[in-house]
Amino acid sequence: MLCSVCKEKPATVHLTQIVGDKMQKVDLCEECAKAKGVNDATTFAMADLMLGLGAAQEVEQAVGSELKCPRCGFSQADFKKTGRLGCPLCYRTFAEGLEGLLKTMHKGVRHAGKVPEALRRTRDTVDRLKSLQKKLAKAIEDENFEDAAALRDEIKVLNAPAAKAR
């Protein structure tokens, strides 16, 4: 888990604050904890750090406060207020800003669990396409044109049915 503030060093200071029925957690590296004056958790207002300097502001900077979800009309300000999103498409709308937030919140930023049966094949295909494209770029860079041609053909075949996914 990385520090929520600098996002570089591993977090070693973990704070949990419960206000009413809301729980907030923040994870800091030692330097950032010191810089924020987190020596005594009781005198430390975590909300400031969480919402002021943490992810929420970063989200705002990244996407601007004007951005609204085209599907449901949900805005950045709404997210700041509720901590929830408006609809599934919001994840696409606010993707850029959410990334940092997800990093601090979760183990990783890519889903590693169950996939609905109907989507399992497309997901595999997309993954395979991505890896082939990487290999292709590498082959071209290395001027290994024989491999590149083979890779391109393989991508062409895969691309046809997977065009709809993502």
Binding site: L85, C87, L98, G108, R110, V115
Partner: protein, 363 residues
């Protein structure tokens, strides 16, 4: 409309449900959050959209073979008391109890599967098991989810997984949790360091009714917090490992207490019995905290002949809504305290006061 009170298993029977390690682990639960692809999340959707989602999901859930004999009802058809009963049984969340039009609940006959429709997400489905049975609970809910995905269009993203209203549930949408009775660690004053080290592992420790609630009756809920970047089985396995360690610590704390501070233990348990068996007015909070000590005494063999299920049953039936339900008139909190004390005194009549030395080879 079926009546929820006649549907639910009587408290005396629920108290007799058994599972592995149920002396310490009261229950295991795995919950999944799912949403429909083209609808706003319940907290943002307007009423007509919420109703439409409910009307899409409800028949899909009811048509599952597991739910053939289920209880299914819209939240606006339940009274405040009905909802509170479901909360006290840990079948729905407190948040869901506050819902009305456009939300509903589907509960199977065995009370092992419960689906909340339009809680924070369109679907919150959970599997419950007595004792430590996280894997079994995961398998059950995984199966239910796989059946449902054939009937409903889930919101799923190749990179982010299942999309949820709150980013904290994103990915697997899973919350794996166990409810633990930890009086030994509380008495030995070891509970705070344990909570801290559990938190460090990325797991949350909460009170009896989940998020933001007090640890009444020395009952704690331990659950995962991160849902993205790890598989469900990995999350289940990690929680299993941590739980088996907490169980060990609780067992050790109980043994050490008996060895090093037996008088403290006997004093606490004896006083708890004294108050419960003789009080004429008692709040539900005090009842829960004292019942926890009584249960510890039963676990330690200090109450010959008394069964733990009696304590577990009292733990449930003395809570406000369950108590209110047994009486026809609407009561004030003060009146409930009197009746609660009467009930507890009566039920403890057959329980002799605790012995001051546990039988050898107990625990």
């Amino acid at each position: 409309m079926k009546d929820i009170h006649s549907f639910l298993c009587p408290p005396a029977e629920t108290a007799r449900r058994h599972g592995p390690h149920d002396r310490i682990v009261m229950s295991s639960r795995v919950r999944l959050a799912r949403n429909l692809k083209d609808s706003a999340f319940p907290g943002w959707a307007k009423k007509p959209e919420r109703v439409k989602v409910y009307e899409t999901i409800r028949p899909a859930v009811e048509s599952l073979p597991e739910m053939a004999t289920a209880y299914s009802e819209a939240m606006d058809n339940l009274t405040a008391l009905d909802k509170q009963i479901l909360v006290e049984r840990h079948l729905i969340s407190r948040e869901h109890a506050a819902k009305n039009v456009g939300s509903g609940v589907v509960l199977n006959r065995e009370e092992t599967l419960c689906v909340m429709i339009n809680e924070e997400d369109h679907l919150r489905m959970q599997a419950l098991r007595p004792g430590l049975q996280l894997r079994q609970a995961w398998n059950a809910i995984d199966h239910l989810d796989s059946e449902l995905e054939k009937k409903l269009d889930y919101a799923f993203d190749n990179d982010l997984g299942y999309l949820t209203a709150c980013p904290t549930n994103l990915g697997t949408g899973i919350r794996v949790s166990a409810m633990l009775h930890l009086p030994g660690l509380v008495l030995a004053e070891q509970i705070n360091p344990i909570i801290q080290s559990v938190n460090k592992l990325g797991l949350a420790v909460r009170g009896l009714y989940g998020e933001g609630t007090e640890a009444l009756g020395n009952v704690f809920q331990v659950s995962n917090q991160m849902t993205l970047g790890e598989s469900e089985t990995l999350i289940v396995e990690r929680l299993e490992k941590v739980l088996s360690q907490i169980i060990e610590h609780e067992d050790n704390a109980r043994l050490t207490l008996l060895e090093k501070k037996p008088k403290v233990v006997y004093n606490q348990i004896g006083r708890a019995y004294g108050i419960l068996a003789n009080a004429h007015s008692i709040t539900s909070k005090e009842t829960m905290n004292l019942l926890s000590l009584l249960k510890l005494g039963v676990d330690m063999g200090l109450f010959s002949g008394a069964e733990r299920s009696l304590v577990d049953e009292l733990f449930l039936v003395t809570q406000p809504a369950h108590l209110q339900k047994q009486l026809s008139d609407k009561l004030s909190a003060e009146e409930r305290d009197l009746l609660r004390a009467d009930m507890v005194r009566d039920r403890l009549k057959g329980v002799n006061r605790p012995v001051a030395k546990p039988p050898t080879a107990s625990n």
